[in-house]
């Protein structure tokens, strides 16, 4: 994975590739256009020289204008000048900089995980990584969803993350706010393998609130990006990132999602790659679950517990079970999952009729205290006691005066 142990020719090619990746506004589609019929070293040389073939290929890309091509040509010429001054091949300084920051480079088609990318319609030309490399032996499940999740989505993402981690399955996600980050945090906390794909350079933490999670994934899992150090987050880089999440996921689970948005892009990308998509059912009144419910209506498999995802994973490749285990162990694990759920439920099973009545009411969506009082006919004091119980036992949660079902 590192530049050590690569031949000189490989290093020169990698250097040219990283120079190309570092060009401003360079994205996966443009890189593919550049590299479609020539290698990176040729590409950058021809770009500098302004060869017609290269320029025609670039002009065919959306949003590329003459000004951008002029900038690229200038940058390419600079790269050669830098190389000439230092006496090293093109891009050697960039390679050294990434190595200094502890970032490894991987050309997907030539990596250990090449099989993932074999039939991919849009494989990344180069991946920047931190932490451990993707191990093709470890099963991977994508967990994605809306950034603005409800208490329900949060709980489900946590349970899925923890459950998958317990089964030794890697959680792949986009390290975003909301479902993505919550699932990965839960997986990390449960000691499971994780892979996070981000839409900016590995030093450009976005969103900033996920800084700790970002660092933890880099330390204990795999942090991947298509972009070199220093590349800032830009809106078009996130859908591109989502296609990598989809490609890396053997099964994709949508926890909560609106009918449009990044998660739906990931779903489309997964469908394009024949990855099975599963969705977590939610209340039909919840806008946050509208997309997930639509997927179910369209025939996606529902996720009611972690075991559903694991079965789908096994069905995906029966020759390679989710983890090395016998049928009995699996039963045992299956029961463990069931038992934990039961234990959680039994420990705080709302015995009080009012508690159950409130939960029924909350199932339909968030409610205020007044609405609960109106629907249940209970006094504020009784409601307060019941809500206090429900909140402490994790059944319900409150934000800004709105009560939500948390499980």
């Amino acid at each position: 994975m590192s530049t050590v142990g690569r031949s000189d020719a490989e290093r020169a090619e990698l250097g040219a590739l990283i120079e190309l990746c570092s060009l401003p506004h360079m994205g996966p589609a443009r890189l593919r256009a550049l590299l479609s019929s020539r290698d990176a070293l040729e590409s950058i040389d021809q770009l500098r020289a302004g060869r017609a073939a290269v320029l025609t290929a670039l002009r065919s890309c959306r949003g590329v204008d003459e000004q951008l091509i002029a900038t690229w040509r200038r940058q390419a010429a600079l790269a050669f000048e830098r190389a000439a001054i230092s006496g090293h091949p093109v891009g050697a300084d960039l390679l050294a900089m990434h190595a200094r920051e502890g970032i490894w480079l991987s050309v997907p088609a030539r990596s250990d995980a090449a099989e993932i990318w074999e039939s991919d319609p849009e494989p990344p030309a180069l991946l920047f990584g931190q932490g451990v490399a993707i191990d093709p032996e470890i099963r991977r499940v994508g967990v994605v969803g809306t950034r603005r999740c409800t208490a329900y989505g949060r709980t489900v993402a946590q349970q899925l993350g923890a459950g998958l981690a317990a089964a030794g399955v890697a959680v792949v996600s986009g390290l975003a706010t909301g479902i993505d980050g919550i699932a990965q945090r839960a997986a990390l906390d449960a000691g499971g393998p994780v892979a996070g794909v981000v839409g900016s350079g590995l030093d450009q933490v976005y969103p900033a609130s996920n800084r700790t999670l970002w660092a933890d994934v880099a330390r204990r899992g795999t942090l991947l990006s298509e972009y070199p150090l220093g590349r800032r987050a830009a809106h078009w880089q996130f859908p591109a990132r989502n296609r990598i999440v989809a490609a890396l996921s053997e099964v994709l689970v949508v926890v909560e999602s609106g009918t449009t948005g990044g998660s739906m892009y990931t779903v489309d990308a997964a469908a394009e790659r024949d990855r099975p998509v599963m969705a977590v059912p939610g209340p039909i009144t919840s806008a946050a679950s509208a997309g997930a419910n639509r997927l179910l209506a369209d025939g996606c498999a529902p996720v009611c517990e972690v075991a559903d995802v694991l079965s789908a994973l096994d069905a995906e490749s029966p020759a390679r079970p989710a983890c090395e285990r016998s049928e009995t162990e699996r039963d045992a694990r299956g029961r463990t999952v069931a038992r934990t759920a039961a234990a959680v439920a039994a420990g705080s099973q709302p015995d009080e009729p009012l508690d159950r009545q409130i939960l029924d009411e909350l199932t339909a969506g968030p409610r205020t205290l007044d609405e609960l009082a109106l629907q249940t006919g209970a006094s504020l004091g009784e409601l307060a006691s019941a809500l206090g119980r429900l909140q402490l036992s994790g059944w319900a949660s409150e934000t800004g005066g709105w009560w939500e079902k948390a499980r």
Binding site: R147, S397, W402
Partner: protein, 505 residues
Amino acid sequence: MLATATTATLVGVDGHVVTVEVHTSNGLPSFTIVGLPDAACREARDRVRAAVLSSGLDWPDSRVTVNLAPSGLRKGGAVLDVAMAVAVLAVTEQVPAESLRGKAFLGELGLDGAVRGTAGMLPLTDALRDRAVVVASEAYHVALAANPRDVHPVRTLGQLASVLAGRAPWPDPPPVPPQPPPVPVPDLSDVIGQPSARRAVEVAAAGGHHLLMLGPPGAGKTMLARRLVGLLPELSRQCAMEATRVQSAAGLPLPTGLATRPLLRSPHHTATVTALIGGGTNAIRPGEISLAHRGVLFLDELGEFAPSVLDAMRQPLEEGVVRVSRALGTCAFPARFLLVAAMNPCPCGQAGRPNSCRCSDLVRQRYLRRLSGPLLDRFDLRIQVRPPDPDQLLDGIRGEPTAAVAGRVAAARERAASRGVEANVELSGAQLEHFAPLTPAAHAVLRERLRGGLLSGRGLHRVRCVALTLCDLASDEPLIDAERLNEALTLRASVGRLHAPATAA
């Protein structure tokens, strides 16, 4: 020739005694005022001279110098007019100089010699309590409220001169003006449904707990705030005196005597720091928080106030007094008020259910970030107010009237008074420990909350305080049990974070 008369000037909300010295000497006729008069005070030259002449009295054909002592104190306003005029009359021997002894004169003069009242009559009279104070007839009842040794009302300068010269007795005090018909106080029974909001308003009134209402426009937040004032008990003499002093100093219209009803002040959200806290260039004036002293300060659209304005309120909220320092000097204004605020949870105004409005995360975070955590912490009661249910609106069942709730509030306030405070909100941690012990079950609830990160140390104290008020309202033993705590916790919605702390997975 020299004569002196006593009067007072207003600094902030306090009167300061001022001695007016008048000296006449030979020379070209002139009239000079020295001793730091402000613009209104300097204009007294023309008013005083015209008033003396219109009253049929003589103005000296000599050099008249008026000195206002102490000379280091800045004198503002027209309230010194009468004192200057009588001192001039004394120096010209139109009234005996002895007749001014033991008296003080407060009032503005009209060009026709009429004596008028000014702002701040109450604190000014208060500063002159050991003298017989001569005031304008119209200000008689306000001045009387300060309980001075004697108050004499006069209508004109001519009348005053005849009394001082011994030609006439003091005029009779004006009759007590007919009490204006009581302003109809909006009744709580107008609030239909909305049990939690009604409860929060009652608890806020009983315990003096600051209240934050979240909800869309039209949910009835302003309506609730107006009814909250009606629930507050009559002010005690001491409190009424404090409140009336500020209102008098600010020139607000006053009732006959002391203002015994708590005031509702609702400044618009464009208010500046100076308007809210106090200050000003010419004189240091009390701000809205002081005008709401012992009353209610209602801030509608809290999120639209400038963050600097809101944060400036933090210290007065804690101390009950605000010290405004300017180059002119420093004033301490009382500012112990009940803060009631209303806001939308997000800027789109739809304020819908979670995840249903169109505001992005960033926009909502930015909106809530305008409210600093320490300010939000001051609100013991935070509730979500939604428009009442249509069925309830139409079925015509009215809620509990103000009178019934006010009775409970008054009883709760009496219990607070027995603990040595005006309201429970003023109780310290140690006092709470003493007055409001927790049951073991309540201990357990709090422990779990604290452990789960659902409650901060500061929040713990506030929740206990609200729970004690709930006990007081129910006229129960002040023993905090789990049910009371839970209700106090429920009336304290989490605001300022997009997500409640994660519950156990």
